[in-house]
Point group: C2
Chain length 371, copies 2
């Protein structure tokens, strides 16, 4: 097992990565809270059925009242109306300022539960229990919480850290293989932007990682978390370094928006986004062809990335509404080698259009071959 | 004029108290923000008509795009649906992370705009421009922001500080006299819990203060803000000392709830709540009769406190759902002299019932006399 510390500006906490963690969460959490009056586990019906019992039993063994609040799975429920409903449910169950919230599930559940904890009575403690690869390697660490608006993803939220994160590797056993592979794109990202040794390890063990073999998957998860912890420690509020975590995400978000957040998993859209960013980096002579090929090959190793229908110009337009755009300039994170990136702030629409067109052409060619 | 500094754990800022401040807000604010991409003034139609122009003109003179977002006046709009609507409006107007929000109005507007600033893109800067006495002496300072749920007041929110507070005394000239008097109850509170010299000054100048004469009103406002700043500096998150600010508020909130938040102004309900707390303090022999009389007399000096219909037992029951109740024990802030209070944590329902009955009996007697 590994315990990875996150020492952010506003909070410090441990990310526990191990098998068979769920039953011991309660006793590990109790010493971290000043006092726990009662516990609310926020989860989906599916995850509750698979993994709810050991978490609940642990807190009940400590004599705590435990209530389970259910959110249907899926991005479409990550909205303020759901948040408001959950707030009213907390009130109806007599939640107070010493209430502990437990986020049990994937990234949507973690983001919403963290936001709920941030704003219920101006802030109560919570813990993250991520049960998907994506949430274990990415969204459960770093303190970003929130919900979507009609106008866009994650436009509302708070920086708010958990007391601890418990990434139980056993929960990955029930994850659909496609979700596992998609989540691995964030680990590819971690390798490209900062951890060349992780990238090389993933190249060497792609097949076994893809198959979910824990002996190789566990070090990938741990390294991805370490990378993210380092970046968040250096720049909690995304005023500088943390922006590198957006590698692949500007075009990725545009693809998600263009396909209604339904057709592709987040990691799959990020996979395509990384390919577009690689092409943009090449067009600026920031990245040599051999390295570009290593990156796109590793992205595809955790595919297949599903093809989708979208006009290049439409995707470019959609990046304009991405919240990473600051006051008119279009910023991109572009790789310069395996492990290093540049933050490029003067990308023109025309340049981006060319890179997106190249990515789409590659997608159509690959699709024609496999079709 | 006075500039009062608030040095809280998570932020430091200045509360400016003066006449003729509105036109200079923009130039005083600009140096405080890293960058201001555009400005949103959140206000009510009435306040916008009276005081919107000089604030807007100031920012436009600096070349900023200014958009006014309107919320109808009143507590009934302090809800998550309003927050969600405003968030969508921010998105539609292209707000980004360098957007400045301006809260122009009373406490409801300040609380909601602060919360909006706390959660739009996980936090953007905002300033408070309180235009009511209540918001100048109390709600604009201290970082409490939020909204109401169906289940209760201020159950959702964030601790989030403004870049600065601008309390323009001129805006009080258009405040209905009843609102001015009600707001002064928070200054009475400030005197009772911590500032005996403020209390004595208010006793000596009650008539002129009540009439809104700035020569005496201004020092009352400034002292009230100083008192609050001191308390917030010592205990930003209400884990200890800040609880003393709740003097009069536990029963006051119950009265507001029992009367549907419509019949009494907040300050008026707090006035009755302070009287109930005084009776409770006397029944515990914490407060002598002469001091109790000084307090109730000063409360009534800023009346008349409107009578209302409520059963004592119903009010007691409603205090049980007050969020200041921690895990079963009922805590009260009780005065022990002018300027000192005890935090009493073991108040029984029976004791409270007696104190509330005494307060209601006094209300009915006074009402019978004046009727």
């Amino acid at each position: 097992m590994s315990d990875i510390r996150v020492e952010a500006a506003s909070a410090s906490y441990t990310v526990h990565v191990d098998r068979n963690l769920l039953a011991s969460i309660a006793e590990r959490t109790a010493p971290l809270a000043r006092k726990i009056s009662q516990v609310f586990i926020v989860t989906s019906p599916e995850i509750d059925r698979l993994w709810g019992a050991p978490v609940r039993n642990g807190f009940e063994t400590l004599g705590k009242r435990v209530t389970t609040l259910l959110i249907p799975a899926g991005e479409s429920h990550k909205r303020m109306t759901t948040i408001e409903r959950l707030l009213e449910e907390l009130a109806q169950h007599g939640a107070d300022r010493d209430t502990l919230l437990v986020a049990l599930g994937g990234g949507v559940l973690g983001d919403m539960t963290g936001f709920l904890a941030a704003i219920w009575m101006r802030g109560v403690p919570f813990i993250q229990v991520p049960t998907t690869l994506l949430s274990q390697v990415d969204s459960s660490v770093g303190g970003k919480t929130g919900a979507n608006l009609a106008a866009g993803k994650n436009l509302v939220g708070a920086f708010y850290h958990p007391l601890a994160v418990f990434a139980d590797l056993d929960t990955l056993s029930t994850l659909p293989p496609r979700e596992l592979r998609a989540g691995l794109q964030e680990s590819v990202k971690a390798g490209v932007i900062r951890y060349p040794q992780l990238f090389a390890f993933m190249e060497q063990n792609a097949e076994a990682i893809r198959n979910g073999e824990l002996s190789v998957l566990q070090p990938v998860i741990e390294d991805s978390i370490r990378m993210k912890a380092e970046v968040v420690e250096a720049d909690e509020r995304e005023s500088g370094l943390r922006m590198i975590l957006n590698f692949g995400h500007t075009v990725g978000h545009a693809i998600e928006a263009a396909t209604g957040y339904k057709q592709l998993l987040h990691g799959e859209a990020i996979g395509w986004g990384m390919i577009a960013a690689v092409r943009l980096a090449q067009s600026r002579n920031l990245l040599d062809e051999a390295t570009a090929t290593r990156i796109t090959k590793l992205v595809h190793a955790f595919g297949p990335l599903p093809p989708f229908e979208a006009e290049a110009q439409h995707l470019v337009t959609l990046t304009g509404s991405d919240k990473k755009k600051r006051s008119g300039t279009l910023s991109f994170i572009l790789p310069t080698s395996i492990g290093t990136v540049d933050i490029v702030r003067d990308v023109t629409e025309a340049e981006l259009l060319t890179a997106v067109e190249t990515m789409l052409a590659e997608m159509r060619t690959a699709n024609a071959v496999t079709a």
